[in-house]
Amino acid sequence: MIKILKYSFSDLMRSRWSFIYLGFYLILGFVLLFLNNDLSKGIITLMNVIVVLTPMIGTIFGVMYFYNSREFTELLLAQPVKRSVIFLGQYLGISLSLSLSLIIGLGLPFLAYGIFRSGEIANFIMLLISGTCLTFIFVALSINIALFNSNKIKGFGYAILMWLFFAVIYDALILLSMIVFEDYPLDNYALVASFLNPIDLSRILILLKLDISALLGYTGALFQRFFGTSSGLLYSLLMLTCWVAIPVMLLLNRSRSKDF
């Protein structure tokens, strides 16, 4: 599998897009830090960018790479390599190269600014962890969509819709349902609802880590009580892991029965 991973990874590293993505984070990081001169504000701004952007890039790269590397996949399938190894290797290749762009692209500006000498290091690491998790989740989801749709245009459309759903529509639906049922106690409902969407989960995790949950009002206190504790953090990370594991299992299962 290491070999497949190596070749997918080096294939992606050759493409300009990885570097454009890296460059974007580098610029964003430097501009935010050196114009803002405030680490925690910088992290909050970055959070808003990351929770929306990493899923989007993961989704687009996932489908694009899968459809573009169909020849490579067919070539590999005729070789004495297990199917699950081929798909897992390619999946890890995309996810790792995107995650590296994120970590290096944001890591360098923050290192230059002196993140290690400040108290914000834990928050910054939390930001990178959730960004990486989101990348792994959305690449897996989008490859699933590509595996189920041999029509490129359809696959691309569904993938974008999927991103839009988690990034925008889901929140809108939750908000709407809260307005409709505002006479009922909704705290636990809000907690569970945000748990079921990886983007919301990451956002809340970082917000709470930054200790600005007061902005969230009464529900925020509840969230703080749940997520603020170490077990809350553990559950959230566990949930993010499930969000990676389930699509990956689905992907491997689907790849086993697909014709090429």
């Binding site: 050759r14 020849e71 070539l75 297990k82």
Partner: protein, 232 residues
């Protein structure tokens, strides 16, 4: 060596292979023939595990190939359309496949044979169809495999390369290998093949030596025999 037992495959409502069974045991050149869409490529892909059959099984050296992948070290496969990752160079893809297969390979004599030396650093995306097919041939023949599967190997080849390809196939045969080949060039099939497996509407219409097919259809060359089967 290869035993195909009751293989069925349909794509939606279209049945491509309907209960196909046969054995291939000794070395030799076996031509899989049939009209367009008769399931030749599907059959070869089932043999390689790229297409999963709806029913039946394929035994390779007595082992069921489903859920197995190691047996593919014994098979060299030349796909119908030579499609490779565009941004790799010729030498890179040769090294990559040798690395992934983890088998001893001898690409150099083949590269020299097809005059690919000057293309070694070129990107695969910039090569012509015929040159890409030559790379395809090098990738198939550079391993010493007892079974070689060739799906339309002549596509895009010039006459000189075609003669070289025929020599390669004949050398493989004389060293006791099994060569499975599909082609629409009947003169090539006539020249090379020892046995013919003719697929028609999902069934094996005929399996046997070329001479038997001629007798069965009462024609004196393969092209007319096939035409006699398709348009009686």
């Amino acid at each position: 060596m290869i035993a195909v037992k009751n293989i069925r495959k349909s794509y939606g409502r279209l049945t491509v292979l309907n209960d196909i069974s046969f054995d291939v045991s000794g070395g030799g050149i076996y031509a899989v023939l049939g009209p367009n869409g008769s399931g030749k490529t599907t059959f070869l892909k089932i043999l390689l595990g790229m297409v999963i059959p709806d029913g039946g099984k394929v035994l390779f050296q007595g082992q069921d190939i489903s859920r197995s992948h190691g047996y593919r070290t014994q098979i060299g496969y030349l796909p119908q359309i030579a499609r490779f990752p565009d941004n790799l160079s010729v030498s890179e893809i040769i090294h990559m496949i040798a690395d992934i297969r983890n088998q001893p390979s001898k690409p150099e004599p083949l590269i020299a044979l097809f005059g690919l030396d000057k293309f070694m650093d070129k990107k695969l995306g910039n090569l012509s169809g015929g040159t890409r097919q030559k790379v395809n041939i090098v990738l198939t023949f550079m391993f010493d495999t007892p079974v070689i599967v060739l799906d339309e190997p002549t596509a895009g080849l010039d006459p000189v390369s075609l003669i070289k390809l025929k020599e390669l196939i004949n050398t493989a045969k004389s060293s006791g290998k099994i060569v499975l080949i599909t082609s629409h060039i009947m003169s090539l099939v006539e020249e090379l093949s020892d046995e013919i497996i003719f697929l028609l509407e999902g069934d094996i219409y005929f399996k046997g030596a070329l001479s038997e097919l001629k007798i069965k259809t009462g024609s004196n060359d393969l092209e007319h025999s096939i035409a006699a089967i398709l348009e009686p």
